[in-house]
Symmetry: C2
């Protein structure tokens, strides 16, 4: 049942795993103290890349889909975490409204909604799904191929509150990343908790803010473990005012790509890594794997304006790209059945509740896997329902490997927490 | 791997299961609100008896052993709950001292200690085991048949604190029920959390206090679900000043046994139950299944003073019996491989984290199973790592059955919380 996972068994990554395992009490205490000071995002998924010589988060999603990819054995952890999260936010909550993405034709995405509904139902809430898509006028019920069905209803907005017909929720959970901007229908709600907050949406959020926070988190964590933070942190820089369609801002891009490649080359030399460095150019906002490009040489950028612009100039929801982040590319050294794989870690409140491998048979080890054609292997982490096994050979124990992934996933979640604090518009009013 | 569990499939218990499942959000919310007002015990195990027509807790243990009987799949839930518990009590905790029972020769009990150590290590603490047994002068390491080893060290008491050599814990966890009285070595500790508190020990605790609290809890829960609380509550009364050796107080015992049997008979008639009523006479304090006797007729008590007194007059630790609780006997309708079985539910903080069946091949359906010769079948609840399955036929789904057991287990835990509040000596000083 569990696909055989081929992990790079040599190099610094196993030293890192060993150090992470050995430092478990210190790490857990460190997180415990961090969560005293900072509020975790309500739920989070983090895409990781394990290059064998380094392990780093490359994307932190604050509106995670794909909950249906978690195995049934993982769900009780999610339910327990959901209970803890609800208790903190709104202990007397009865009703929860989940707001999905607009494009809800995909049965995978609908199965994700059904799973979220199930988790929060088990945690003690009446859950209904209400779309803010103005196209939806009537409730729509879709049968799922895996059994069961999902009903999506049009939301009803009153002057002060958002709900459904005969359903007034105390808490509203967004499973919609607001790529197209903050909809007015979600603004000025009274005595309703909206989670995550509006400024976590991709119309406000910037990857560069996130990775700036992650810089800080990884430095402090590196100090705790006595490791070079580079081993868990992808370097990056940014360019503003880029317009691929018009060819504007390309000089900045070339300079920054070149500078970052030089920095990576230096690090590779320091660690004796024989791989070819590359960077990934992404829209600073946006999600869904759109607007992402692998660049191995600044000269490649010439081709970009010619043929690559269609992919880069528009991201999900039709936004023009203005600012880009240039991030150190992290190879993935993991394979499932010869296909390139990257781990995805799921968290609810402060707890790691599961994960799976994203697998793409048609992609290279230095390419983005979150594109059409990728397939999910949700069973790869099945053994994560076992506790870490101290004393196992580094790299040889799936639960140990998963524990390390969970630690790095939580570091990215902590960075998101810093990020949301720094960008909170309500916090600014106190300055 | 999972033993086939034969459960009574007819009668009110399946209606109860259905009602519990249907009311899940209301039940979880009710618990959520209760835990806003009341503090759950640090950890709890509850013995249940499922008669097919009623389901009731018969013993609530605030120093649970047997953690080694939980399957590895259940442990991540325990770790997550331990994290939540520690965070509330002492978030900057580094060191945890576990105080075991004095008689630690049993490898089962030692495996329990190893499991507890593992759970709290994973939750982020340095854990060591320190005995308050004055007989232990040197650290003692025992290899476990299941692999690994356990080291028990003698505690070091200073004027203000308790610890080990070179180990100063912020939190002390008792896994010793203090049957022999409150040891002075645990008194007057400064700035150390002692969990559970001293008044949870069996030298202070009374079963009658617990079941009085459970009366209240089950009434309120019965109202929430619209059920007769008797379906989840064993009736009881008490006699003080009993001395079996001297034959004192036997008149009170006879009268009360008779009165309770009459009440049970009336209830059986109301529900059309053809079983023969019985009561269980137990020491009002004490544990370990000692001093427990099944009585089917007040006349049986005559024999007691003659032959049964050896078993009744002394409980664990050599205490004389003075007060007894006479409790409605609850048949167990569950079987594993023809052996009589009763479920045990484990909780950490407010969360159900697992359970197993206690099985005794040599005992009847109306007898106490917690005696020598019982064996544990820890795999019976393996499917509890799955979430409840709404829509399944009542009684046919192990996860649904386990969810109901978890609800009743939590009711008993809540009663223990009420009980500890009512008996808290520090709370009394405010009166």
């Amino acid at each position: 049942m569990v696909p055989h996972l081929i992990t790079a068994l040599t190099g610094p990554i196993n030293e890192l795993e060993q150090r992470v395992l050995d430092s478990m009490p210190a790490i857990e205490r460190w997180f415990r103290l961090e969560w005293m000071e900072h509020t975790p995002p309500f739920y989070t998924s983090v895409d990781l890349r394990n290059a064998g010589f380094k392990l780093a988060p490359v994307d932190t999603n604050l509106y995670p889909g794909g909950w249906n990819n978690l195995t049934p054995e993982m769900l009780p952890l999610a339910v327990q975490s959901a209970m803890a999260a609800i208790e903190k936010i709104c202990p007397d909550a009865k009703n929860l409204l989940v707001i999905p993405e607009h494009s809800t034709q995909s049965t995978h995405y609908l199965a994700n909604l059904a799973q979220l509904k199930r988790i929060f139902h088990m945690a003690g809430l009446h859950v209904r799904i209400g779309s803010i898509d103005p196209e939806l006028k009537e409730p729509r019920t879709v049968e799922l191929p895996t059994g069961g069905s999902v009903t999506i209803e049009p939301v009803v907005r009153t002057r002060r509150r958002l709900g459904l017909k005969d359903f007034d929720p105390c808490t509203i959970l967004l499973n919609n990343d607001l790529s197209t901007g903050t909809p007015g229908i979600l603004e000025d709600l009274h005595e309703q908790y909206l989670l995550p907050p509006l400024h976590a949406g991709w119309s406000v959020r910037r990857k560069s803010h996130h990775f700036k926070s992650y810089d800080e988190v990884s430095k402090r964590f590196g100090k705790l473990l006595g490791i070079d933070p580079w081993l868990i942190n992808p370097m990056f820089n940014t360019c503003g005012e880029i317009n691929f369609a018009e060819g504007e801002g390309m000089e900045c891009l070339r300079t920054n790509v070149d500078a970052l490649l030089t920095k990576i080359r230096k690090k590779y030399k320091e660690y004796g890594i024989a791989e070819k460095p590359f960077v990934v150019v992404k829209a600073d906002n946006g999600t869904y794997g759109m607007g992402i490009m692998t660049v191995r040489d600044a000269k490649d950028l010439e081709a970009l304006t010619a043929k690559g612009q269609d992919g880069m100039s528009v991201i999900k929801g039709g936004q023009q790209v203005h600012q880009v982040i240039i991030q150190e590319g992290v190879l993935t050294g993991e394979r499932i059945h010869d296909a390139v794989a990257e781990p995805v870690v799921y968290m609810m409140d402060r707890y790691v509740v599961g994960g799976f491998y994203r697998v793409h048979a048609g992609r290279g080890i230095d390419e983005n896997l979150n594109t059409p054609g990728s397939s999910f292997v949700p069973l790869a982490f099945a053994e994560s329902t076992r506790l870490p096994q101290p004393g196992e050979k580094p790299g040889a124990s799936a639960p140990n490997r998963f524990y390390m992934y969970g630690v790095i996933g939580r570091l990215a979640m902590l960075a998101a927490s810093y990020e949301l604090e720094a960008t909170d518009p309500e916090a600014e009013t106190y300055d």
